[in-house]
Symmetry: C2
Subunit: 381 residues, 2 copies
C-alpha cells in the first residue's frame, strides 16, 4: 500500500510503501514536470528555465491516483501528474556514498578469462539486424571493446563500420590513419615495434572516446592485438594500494604530441579520472606521450611515480590481457577512455595493413539506447 505525505512546510513530500520511503523536493518535482507547458511533447526538451519557476515553490497538496502522483504547486496553482514508476526510477533519497573508483552496475571488468568470449559481431548481421547490433553495442558498453568479423576488405571499409553506430572524429591524422611500416616514421605506431598497452591520444582533450582498427592485410608474422581493461587495472591498483590509486586520481598528468611542424597537442588530465562522486570515468596511460608531470607536489612525486610504475606492472600482467589476431575484413573497436590496446611486435616479412579512425562514445551509447527504446526490440527481450 503506497501513501504520500506532504511536509508541513510544503518543501517536499514523502512517498512510502512497505519497501521504501522516498522524499522529493517541491522544486525538483516542479522542475521535472512533464506537462506540455514545461516540456515539449515533440522532443522532450524543457520549455522553461528555472527562472520561470518561483523560488518559493511549494507543494500545496499531493495525492495518489493509481500509478499516478498528482501534485499541486503553490504559488503557481499548477497541477502536475507524475508516473510512480518514473519517480521510483529517478529517486535520489538515501543514496549512500560509494567507494572511490566505483562503476555503474552495467559495466563489468574483465581479465584474460574473457579471451574465449570476446564480444564479436558479424558485419553483415550488424548491418541488417537491429537486434544483433543492439546486443553487440550492449556488450561494448559492458566490456569496453568488441570485434567485428566478415567485413568488406576494401580501402575505407572502417567508415562503414562507424556508420553502424556513430560518426568519425576527424583529427590532424585525418578522417582515418594508416597503420603499416613506414621508413622514417613520425609516430611509433607506424613501425614494426611492439607497443606497451596504452590509450590513444591522451594529449587530446577531449580524447577520442572510441577507436576503430580495421584490418585489410595481414600476412606478416606476429602483430597480434591485445587489449587490457583499464578500469580493472585501476580498481586492482586501488584494492592493492589505495594511496597509489588516489595519487594518480588526485593529480593531473601532462601529455604532449608535438612531432609534426603544425601540431602541438597538449593536455593536463589525470591518469585515473573520477567523477566528483568517485565514479571511475576514464583512464589515460601512454608512456610515449607522457610529458613532464609538473602538477604533483614534491612530497608526493615519489609516490606518484611508484603508483604509475605499479599501474604499468598491472597493465603488463598477462592475467589482464585478451589477445586476438585480426584477419583481413576484421576489426576491433575500443572505448578509448577505458580499454588499453597494444600490438605485439611483428616481423617485416609479408605485409600488415590496418586502417584506424576515431569516433565518439556518446554516439555509440545513443545508438544503443535508441535501439533499446524501439518497441519491437523491447518486445523481443
Amino acid at each position: 500500500m503506497m501513501s504520500v505525505i506532504v511536509a508541513p512546510t510544503g518543501t517536499h513530500l514523502t512517498i512510502a510503501s512497505e519497501h521504501s520511503t522516498q522524499r522529493f523536493h517541491a522544486i525538483w518535482l516542479r522542475d521535472n514536470a512533464g506537462d506540455p507547458e514545461t516540456r515539449s511533447a515533440a522532443n522532450g526538451q524543457r520549455l522553461i528555465s528555472l527562472r520561470d519557476i518561483p523560488a518559493d515553490t511549494s507543494i500545496s497538496s499531493a495525492e495518489l491516483k493509481g500509478q499516478t502522483l498528482v501534485v499541486n504547486f503553490a504559488p503557481e496553482s499548477k497541477e502536475v501528474s507524475y508516473d510512480l514508476d518514473w519517480l521510483a526510477a529517478h529517486a535520489y533519497d538515501g543514496e549512500e556514498a560509494q567507494q572511490r573508483g566505483w562503476m555503474p552496475s552495467k559495466v563489468e571488468t574483465w581479465g584474460s578469462g574473457l579471451m574465449g568470449n570476446v564480444p564479436t559481431g558479424d558485419f553483415a548481421e550488424l548491418s541488417q539486424n537491429d537486434d544483433a547490433l543492439r546486443q553487440w553495442l550492449g556488450l561494448i558498453g559492458k566490456f569496453g571493446f568488441g570485434k567485428v568479423v566478415n567485413g568488406p576488405i576494401e580501402d575505407g571499409a572502417l567508415f562503414k563500420l562507424v556508420d553502424l553506430f556513430g560518426h568519425v572524429r576527424e583529427t590532424n591524422y585525418g578522417r582515418h590513419f594508416e597503420v603499416r611500416t613506414e621508413v622514417n616514421p613520425t609516430n611509433l605506431a607506424y613501425t614494426g615495434l611492439g607497443l606497451q598497452a596504452h590509450t590513444d591520444n591522451p594529449y587530446r582533450d577531449p580524447v577520442p572516446t572510441v577507436q576503430v582498427l580495421y584490418c585489410l592485410e595481414s600476412s606478416a608474422a606476429g602483430g597480434e592485438n591485445m587489449v587490457v581493461d583499464g578500469f580493472a587495472a585501476a580498481q586492482r591498483l586501488r584494492d592493492e594500494n589505495e594511496a597509489y590509486f588516489n595519487v594518480l586520481a588526485d593529480h593531473c598528468a601532462r601529455f604532449e604530441y608535438a612531432g609534426e611542424a603544425d601540431v602541438c597537442l597538449t593536455s593536463r588530465r589525470p591518469m585515473i579520472e573520477l567523477a566528483p562522486d568517485g565514479e571511475l570515468i576514464g583512464v589515460r596511460f601512454n608512456n610515449r606521450s607522457l610529458a613532464a608531470v609538473t602538477d604533483v607536489p614534491f612530497d608526493q612525486m615519489a609516490t606518484y611515480y611508484a603508483a604509475y610504475r605499479r599501474l604499468g606492472e598491472i597493465i603488463d600482467d598477462t592475467a589482464m590481457e585478451v589477445t586476438f589476431r585480426l584477419n583481413p575484413g576484421e576489426a576491433f573497436i575500443v572505448d578509448n577512455t577505458r580499454v588499453l590496446h597494444a600490438r605485439k611486435g611483428y616481423s617485416g616479412e609479408g605485409t600488415r595493413w590496418l586502417q584506424g579512425c576515431y569516433a565518439d562514445k556518446d554516439g555509440l551509447r545513443s545508438t544503443y539506447d535508441a535501439l533499446c527504446r524501439k518497441p519491437d526490440l523491447k518486445a523481443a527481450e
Copy 2:
C-alpha cells in the same frame, strides 16, 4: 650563482640560486631525459616505458656546466644533460594549493565591458597571414570566443573557417546544422524564440568543445547573438557563496536529448567541472536539456537548486553579457566548455539563416601553439 646538491640518498637533487630552490627526483629526471635513447629525436615521443627504468634509480652525481645540468644515474651508469631553462619551466617544487575554481593566468574572465573589444579577425587576413591567425586564436584562448568578419557568403563557408584551426566534429546533427525557422521544430534552436544563454549539447560526452555559428542571411529584426563567460559566472558564484559553487562542482547533473527516433543522448556530468586540483575546466548550463538530477543527496538538493538558480541569475545579469549582431559573412566561435551563447528573439519577418557546426578545442590550441613555435613568428614578437 647556481649550485646543485645531490641528496645523500641519491633520490633527488637540489638546484639553488639566489632566487629559488628547486628539487627534482631521480626518477622524474630519468623519465624526462631527452637523450636519443629515451626520446625520439624525430617526433619527441618517449621510446621507453617506465618499466625500462630501474625502480631503484638514483643520482650518483650531478654537476652544472653553464646552462646545462649533467646527471649520472645509477644503476644504469647513464649520463643525461638537461637544459636549466627547461628544468626551471618544468619545476614542480613548492607549488601552493590554489583556491577551488582557479584558472591559468592566460585565461581572462570578462563581462559586458568587453563589448567594444570583441576579438575579431578578418577572414582573408586569417587565411593568409599566420601572425593574424595566431593573434586571433590567442585571444580565443584567453576569452573563450571570437568573431570573424568579411567571410564568404556561401553555403558551407563555415567549413573554410574551421579549416583555419581544426576539424569538424560530426554528430547526429550532421557535419553542420542549419539554424532557421522551421515549422514543427524538433529542436528549439530552430524556432524564433529567444533562448537563455547556454552551452551546447551537454548531453554529449565529450561535449563539442568548440561551436561555430556562421551567418548567411540576416534580414529579420532581432536575433542578436549574446555570449556570457561561464568561467566568470562560476567564479562570481564562488565568491558570493562558496557552498553554492561547491554543490554544483561536487555533484553530477544529468542531461538528455532523446527527441528523435534514433537519438538517445545522455550524460552525467557536473554543471561546474573542476580538475582534481580545483582548476575550473568546464561549465555545462542548459535548461532545455537538463534531465532529472538524481545524483545529489536529499539533504543537499535544496542547496543544489538554490545554487543552480543563482548561477542562472548571474548568467542572466546584463552586466555579464556581450551582445553583437552577425551580418552575412560573419561568424563567431565559442569555447563550448566555457562560454555560453544565446540568441535574442527575432521576428518572423525577413529571413535569418545561420549554419553551425562543432569542432574541438585541442585542435585549435594545437594550431595556436604550433604557430607560436614557428621561428619567424616568434621573432616578430
